[in-house]
């Protein structure tokens, strides 16, 4: 369970949000809304521990995420604006390196299968440099299929994807929630994730939003 209490973030001299509190339980999805520059990405980077909060606390199962350290990062997948894949490696190599570093090594077969499910059949052993923007995104998202982490933090996961890939990604997000996982995502697109456990959080209003 992820608990956020009294969170504030200040970038430069600008207060992005303050006194933000919410709880995300198992099987729940939190969708962040807000105009450009309202602090969605900052919030996500803070939640996964990349940025430090200015005030407040983020707790995972009751303990501060900074104290948990690697025990917390084991439970998190973060996919941000940058795909985090190496241009000179093939999709399979990228995926295997990522998984090994995430602590759950996969065989070459599993990596091929994951990429195939992601709709990259025939492109698995090409250097990522020659892939299109959307295909690179698919390679990055294929990590979700192989990962055992419970909390997914996805920053604009649908950008550059085509309709089929968006549908597929929505279905794996749905599966993840149904099996007790947690998802935090931002998107400007209309998403049809029709589950009752969807929470909405609006950032960038006159005062920071509460859930």
């Amino acid at each position: 369970m992820l608990e956020v209490a009294g969170l504030a973030c200040i970038r430069g001299d600008r207060k992005l949000f303050s006194d933000l509190s919410f709880t995300l339980g198992e099987g729940e999805l939190l969708r962040l809304h807000g105009h450009n520059g309202s602090g969605k990405t900052t919030l996500m980077r803070t939640l996964c521990g990349l940025s430090r909060e200015s005030a407040g606390e983020i707790r995972w199962n009751g303990a501060s995420i900074h104290k948990l350290g690697e025990e917390f990062t084991r439970e998190v997948v973060y996919i941000g604006h940058k795909n985090g894949i190496k241009d000179d490696l093939t999709g399979v190599e990228n995926l295997r390196v990522c998984s090994a570093l995430d602590g759950c090594p996969v065989t070459e077969r599993q990596a091929w299968d994951a990429l195939e499910r992601m709709g990259l059949m025939g492109h698995e052993d090409l250097p990522s440099r020659v892939l299109s923007q959307g295909q690179k995104r698919r390679v990055a998202l294929a990590r979700l299929l192989l990962n055992k982490s419970r909390l997914w933090i996805l920053d604009e996961p649908f950008t550059a994807l085509d309709v089929a890939a968006v549908d597929f990604l929505q279905s794996i997000i749905r599966d993840h929630i149904n099996s007790g996982g947690m998802v935090i995502l931002t998107t400007h697109q209309e998403v049809k994730i029709t589950r009752e456990q969807v929470l909405e959080l609006r950032l960038g209003w006159k005062e920071a939003g509460h859930v």
């Binding site: 996964c48 990349l50 795909n83 985090g84 894949i85 000179d88 190599e93 570093l101």
Partner: protein, 222 residues
Amino acid sequence: MFNAFRTLLGRDLLLAMRRRSDLFTTLFFFVIVVSLFPLGIGPEMKTLRLIAPGVFWVAALLASMLALERLFAVDYEDGALEQMLLTPQPLFILVLAKVIAHWLVTGLPLVLMAPLLGLQYDLASDALGVMVVSLLLGTPALSLIGAIGAALTLGLRGGGVLVSLLVLPLYIPVLIFGSGAVEATASGMGGQGHLLMLGAILVLSLLLAPLAASAALRISVE
């Protein structure tokens, strides 16, 4: 943990193999700088023997500086670095793997090339031997210390110049003991003491530099 170390080391070596042009720039820089001095000074054997240790070590220092910029910058730009910070692996191990891969690609070739270049300076065989040993102990320390500077200047504009200003002063002990070892051997005093000091510097930087670089990376990525 060991698995992660091996994976990252293997990945960086593979990437270096796929980008061989980067690999050779450092080596050729070293070869050219070292070869320029005999051409400029002329075939004065006594002078060449005298300046050889200093020239080799300063060239190694500059070559190592040249390569530093790429140590974390590529991973930073494509987002692989922030993913590394989010893996359940100790950052110390990951940084160590990256630095070792970096040394294998940019430092080790210099060490292997040194005896051949030493012939231009008419160095005696025992002095050449000590030169190789001193470079073997010193260049990993240069990579390790340099990693701190590379991590601190990540994402800054003009980071390359800043790295030199930050890191070159820290390289001074390595330079002194490295060239000192060769000089002492050439003058018949024996360079053992210098080599032991270099070894101590290497052990110390092996222990502390990855820690400092990890902390610097966390600040740079934020």
